[in-house]
């Protein structure tokens, strides 16, 4: 049951500028699709339009060949998990799940059975009669998940569900979500600004920026073959170093592609080492090139406050044309300066 968004345009009431325009997106059936992007890129708006919580100004959304663009949220057969869980504070864990189920045509026995199943699945059985304020953040998140699962929806929509958890719990919930996805065999649409979440969980990543899709692909494709400078600089730890050239084209290289020694055939330039950060396995170095700062990740230990010649092998170079899209390799002319897409 693919979710297909066609020519979507979204203008918020009281505003003239569209936040999303001409958005075309196919979310594959059974995929774990992550909408990834910086805040304000339109990813949450997109998710909320699929859920029916935001009106679609123009365009259509179809699920399973049914047009749901103007359908009530409750009739879309989709379940949503909210950033702040949105569990009903005055209902017990059981009550939270029951409330939604009662609105479907189900017998009492069916409801009771369904509640029992999802509580077991999410490990909440012993908390069934607790009130939300007696639960920890992680447990509340599980209640939200249990409520979503109980409806056996066509797809799960998740809006930054892990962002309110602490780092340790987030890692744990991440692997639980992956397990859940494998068990459910349903489509997951997941919004986040955290690339680690995207790379670890997704089968499909959709990178968004200013209401447009910059690239869609598997985590490996996105990480290894960024289609444009925005994706190259947004993904990666840290993002790609990019030089603007005199002729208006760009070249880029990942911090891990930068070396402190090399041959004359390599692309190379001079730089001063500014700071070095020890990260355990390797180091992160910041250099001043005279045209801007670049970052290097390396296991080599470099002398501080020194002048270096840095090298990038041909295989590690990325070439971008004037429109900032990936292109065929070209002869590198003079360097004009370091370029950052988000500035």
């Amino acid at each position: 049951m693919p979710i297909i968004l066609k020519d979507i345009k979204k203008i918020y009431p009281g505003s003239k500028e569209p936040v999303i325009e001409g958005l075309n997106l196919t979310i594959k059936d059974g995929s774990f699709t992550v909408l990834l992007g910086p805040s304000g890129c339109g990813k949450t708006t997109t998710l909320r339009m699929i859920a029916g919580l935001e009106d679609v100004t123009e365009g259509t959304i179809t699920v399973d060949n049914t047009d749901i663009t103007r359908m009530e949220p409750g009739d879309r057969n989709l379940a949503m998990v909210f950033q702040n869980y949105a569990i009903y504070p005055h209902m017990s864990v059981k009550g939270n799940i029951e409330f939604g189920l009662k609105n479907y045509k189900m017998t009492k026995e069916q409801i009771a059975q369904r509640i029992k199943d999802v509580l077991e699945l999410t490990g909440l059985t012993e908390f069934a009669n607790r009130m939300p304020n007696q639960l920890s953040g992680g447990q509340r998140q599980r209640v939200a998940l249990a409520r979503a699962i109980s409806k056996s929806p066509k797809a799960f929509l998740m809006d930054e569900p892990l962002s309110n958890l602490d780092a340790k719990l987030r890692n744990q919930m991440r692997s639980e979500l992956i397990q859940m996805f494998k068990q459910m065999e349903t489509t997951f649409v997941y919004v986040t600004h955290d690339q680690v979440e995207a790379l670890t969980m997704a089968t499909d990543i959709v990178v968004m920026h200013n209401g447009k899709i910059m690239q869609q692909g598997s985590p490996k494709e996105i990480y290894r073959n960024p289609q444009n400078i925005f994706v190259a600089q947004f993904i990666g730890d840290p993002g790609m170093n990019v030089f603007l050239l005199d002729d208006g084209n760009y070249i880029g290289f990942k911090p891990r592609g930068l070396r402190s020694s090399g041959s004359d055939r390599d692309f190379s330039f001079e730089a001063d080492l500014l700071t070095s950060e020890f990260l355990g396995f390797d180091y992160q170095y910041t250099f001043e090139t005279g045209m801007g700062r670049i970052v290097m990740r390396s296991i080599d230990e470099l002398e501080p406050d020194n002048h270096y010649r840095l090298y990038v092998q041909d295989a590690d170079l990325f070439f971008f044309d004037k429109d900032q899209n990936v292109c065929e390799p070209f002869a590198i002319g003079g360097l004009k300066g370091v370029y950052h897409a988000d500035e």
Partner: protein
């Protein structure tokens, strides 16, 4: 250096030690509040209880111990029974009808358009007008001969009413004025309560296929319950102490039909110089409102959801 020496000297000085100890003494710190409370609340209350056992004439200063005589008088008095039933009718009316109207108005006005803002502001004005002025305004409006209310009824071909001057309609008129006066501020309180319910709860309910009616009764009302409990408590208390509207509009009449307990206490004491009787009525009022407060906080509190 010199500063430090002086500071140390002062630290060990007798005056310093005295104040230091005093300011660390919790009883000293709460003393002002306790003194005011004793003087202005506890003492008058005890005095009222004490005087309710006497026949007391404050002008001559003579008092005579009656035991439970004042209470016996009150419970045998036809007037006092009438006052109690008036007060209870009055309280129930402004509690249920008033609260219902406040909720309806709050829900209706809970939008952020300029028009809604204006209506909100306008409906709040009765709260900042003196209740005496409100009473005077309604005495004009409800005037049996030239009042707008009767003019309207006449224009519509409906039977007119004597309003606050009629035996059967006077209490009803007082109730209308009291509900009207509290409507705007109550609605505003409801709006504040509604706005404290996060939007995502409603979004979750929409995705749960909950109908607007179901959402209102199963989500909005329970989450509004702290506000509602507060309003029930304050409304009951204000019903039992309601005085100025009665004093201005009807003086308890006609034929005691609008005599409420607060006005009765005033009437017995300052009007008929029966201070002991007035104090006995005040003690009964204290017991009733105390019992209601306990009921409100124990029975209702269990059904209130605090976030």
């Amino acid at each position: 250096m010199r500063m430090n020496e002086r500071y140390e000297l002062r630290q060990h000085g007798k005056v310093y030690n005295f104040f230091n100890k005093l300011l660390k003494n919790p009883y000293f710190l709460i003393a002002p509040a306790v003194i005011f409370d004793l003087w202005l609340t506890i003492f008058p209350m005890c005095f009222a209880v004490y005087m309710s056992f006497f026949k007391w004439d404050p002008i001559s200063g003579r008092k005579k111990f009656l035991g439970l005589g004042n209470f016996r008088y009150l419970f045998q008095s036809e007037d006092f029974r009438k006052v109690l039933s008036n007060t209870i009718i009055f309280m129930l009316a402004i509690l249920f009808v008033g609260l219902l109207l406040k909720i309806l108005m709050g829900v209706f006005l809970n939008k952020r358009t300029p028009l809604h803002n204006i209506v909100q502001t306008v409906s709040f004005t009765p709260h900042i007008i003196a209740s005496v002025s409100i009473a005077v305004i309604f005495m004009w409006l409800m005037d049996p001969n030239n009042g707008i209310f009767n003019m309207g009824l006449r224009a519509l071909g409906l039977p007119t009413s004597y309003w606050y001057k009629g035996r059967d309609s006077a209490l009803f008129s007082i109730i209308i004025v009291s509900i009207w006066a509290g409507l705007g501020s109550g609605a505003l309180r409801i709006i504040a309560g509604l706005r404290s319910i996060p939007e995502y709860i409603y979004e979750a309910a929409k995705l749960d296929k909950s109908s607007p009616m179901k959402t209102f009764f199963k989500i909005t009302i329970p989450l509004l319950s702290p506000t509602l409990l507060y309003m029930v408590v304050t409304t009951t208390a204000s019903a039992f102490t309601s005085f100025d509207t009665v004093k201005m509009m009807t003086n308890g009449g006609p034929d005691n039909s609008t005599n409420l307990i607060a006005f009765y206490i005033y009437q017995q004491g300052l009007g008929f110089n029966q201070y002991g009787r007035a104090m006995a009525a005040a003690v009964i009022l204290l017991l009733i409102s105390g019992a209601l407060a306990v009921i409100n906080f124990t029975v209702l509190d269990k059904r209130v959801h605090y976030q």
